[in-house]
Amino acid sequence: MRLVEVDRLSKSFGDRLAVTDVSFTLEAGTTLAIVGESGSGKTTIARMLAGLETPTAGRIAVCGDDRSRPARRASERRDRARQLQIVFQDPYSSLDPRQSLSTCLDEVLRLHHPAMDRAARAARVAELASLTGLDGRQQSALPRELSGGQRQRVAIARALAAEPAVMLLDESVSALDVSVQAQILNLLADIRAATGVGYILISHDLAVVRQLSDRSLVLRHGRVVEHGPTSEVLDQPTHPYTRLLRDSVPRPGRRPARPANS
């Protein structure tokens, strides 16, 4: 099933083009990686998908519904939120410091699933917590009592609570320690297999992209320079920029190349 369809999307801020003519699709149960460095436009694309920016031109459809125009009513905005949820990079600033995991998830459930009663919500909160590997004690803990990895699990649980068709992972594992990052990457793969959710993974880390994504899109200065199955993009990059990114990844026993003057 096609979850996301983006067609010739562009965004300009004043006379500056942030995103030019970007097209891609996302199928259920798969992951599309958007790779690029700072200024490549990847965050602008994410913000347009989430409805935080309005496209200058082009079309975005999520679950068949057009969302190129701003939502007119609160109910429409809520429907869009149910279709697509975001997990941000920094779990220290993306959670309400006064909300425990349970109250945070309960709020999402009440908003998106008004038919659920209190007992059903409590059961679902427990289910989401166990799916994301958080125990009972952590359910009542405030964010400040949790580690970075645990907070990111809370952010993932919160996104899952809406039962979205698409999850937008905006550098969601970049700020985590290596040993914890592996746990979260495994968790994301499990959730995808269990629920059929589609991921849009925004990342600068090619190893993470290789591990989690099926298809990749490489952005530079707001334009797509390479697009295809992740294994092909990483193994046989055709664009020099993709090759540069690939060669910039540090590896043991390989002396860094001479720096390019700029």
Binding site: D177, S179, V180, A207, L245, P250, R251, G253, P256
Partner: protein, 332 residues
């Protein structure tokens, strides 16, 4: 010849009325012109090690043990000697170059201030020297850059400016604390290449602090892995990747996704990293370790020689003989 030597370095910081140990006995030597990586996750106190070396610990910190630079006792330096030490012996480059520069002063002001004050250069000479220093870090149009403000430069260029400033006092040791973490990968590669070249051309010793084992291995002769305020393994960087000895190092290398291939499942280390003050009396890694036995919880392991490595693990020798295939082959 040994340039810097840390001996049983312990640091305790006062946090909200109670004392917290951040370094639990670090021993490390850096030879002249040598580059050593210090790798660890959050809370491992790798940055605190660098701050102890440059005597930049927060107020109230209690330091125990010895820090020797070129045979001289760093902990005993007076105010004036400390100034000289920081200007001419040990320079530091931090993670975020934007935090290191005053946004309302030009690049020229920033670079020349140090040259005028510590090297006693007249302004015109300082500016010429600043242009030379910028050229050394790969910035060719130095004259123009000196007139610019930090906001006009990219993060990668600013980090080069900070490195140029660190070179101003002709230091013999450069402490680089996650110098590329805030930068893009291609910029990271450039900065690392500059550090590597400077080290070779100037004979500069380098302590490179990072959370990335692969990155450290790409420019460091030796790598020390820190966990909960102490070094758990130390050996030549290539060896560390080929034959890691400590279960934590093995775990770290195995947990990282592989750029060459997607793995069916990443070998995550269970649990989360401990901070130094949370460390139990035995081995700090015991709770997350698959090879933990009773002795690991009872006795604090010492850093001991095992073939070419120094390892802090009771089980290292047994693991080496019993499971040679433990380490994941990640050397390219």
């Amino acid at each position: 010849m040994t340039l810097l030597s840390l001996k049983a370095l312990r640091v305790v910081l006062p946090v909200g009325g109670s004392d917290r140990q951040v370094l639990r006995g670090v021993d490390l030597d850096i030879a002249e012109g040598e580059s050593v990586g210090l790798v660890g996750e959050s809370g491992s106190s790798k940055s605190m090690t660098a701050r102890a070396i440059s005597r930049m610990l927060p107020p109230g910190a209690r330091v125990d043990g010895r820090i020797e630079f070129d045979g001289c006792d760093v902990l005993g330096l007076g105010r004036k000697e400390l100034r000289t030490y920081r200007a001419h012996d040990v320079a530091t480059v931090f993670q975020d170059p934007r935090a290191a520069l005053n946004p309302v002063r030009t690049i020229g002001d920033f670079l020349c201030e140090g040259l005028r004050l510590t090297m006693g250069m007249p302004t015109a000479m300082a500016r010429r020297r600043a242009v030379d220093l910028l050229a050394e870090v790969g910035i060719d149009d130095g004259e123009r850059r000196l007139r610019q403000y930090p906001h006009q430069l990219s993060g990668g260029l600013l980090q080069r400016v900070v490195i140029a400033a660190a070179l101003a006092g002709e230091p013999r040791l450069l402490l680089a604390d996650e110098p590329t973490t805030a930068l893009d990968v291609s910029t990271q590669a450039e900065i690392v290449a500059i550090l590597d070249r400077l080290r070779r051309t100037r004979g500069l010793a380098l302590l490179f602090i990072s959370h990335d084992l692969d990155l450290a291995a790409s420019i460091c002769d030796r790598t020390a892995v820190m966990y909960a305020g102490e070094i758990v393994e130390l050996q030549a960087s290539t060896e560390l990747h080929r034959a890691p000895r400590h279960p934590y190092t093995i775990g770290l290398l195995g947990a990282r996704p592989d750029i060459e291939q997607a793995l069916p499942r990443l070998r995550a280390i269970p649990g989360q990293p401990l901070a130094a003050f949370e460390a139990p009396p035995g081995c700090a890694f015991a709770d997350r370790c698959a090879h933990c036995v009773a002795a690991c919880r009872a006795d604090h392991p010492r850093l001991e020689q095992l073939s070419t490595a120094l390892v802090r693990c009771h089980r290292a020798e047994a693991l080496q003989t019993h499971s040679p295939g433990l380490a994941k082959g990640k050397v390219s």
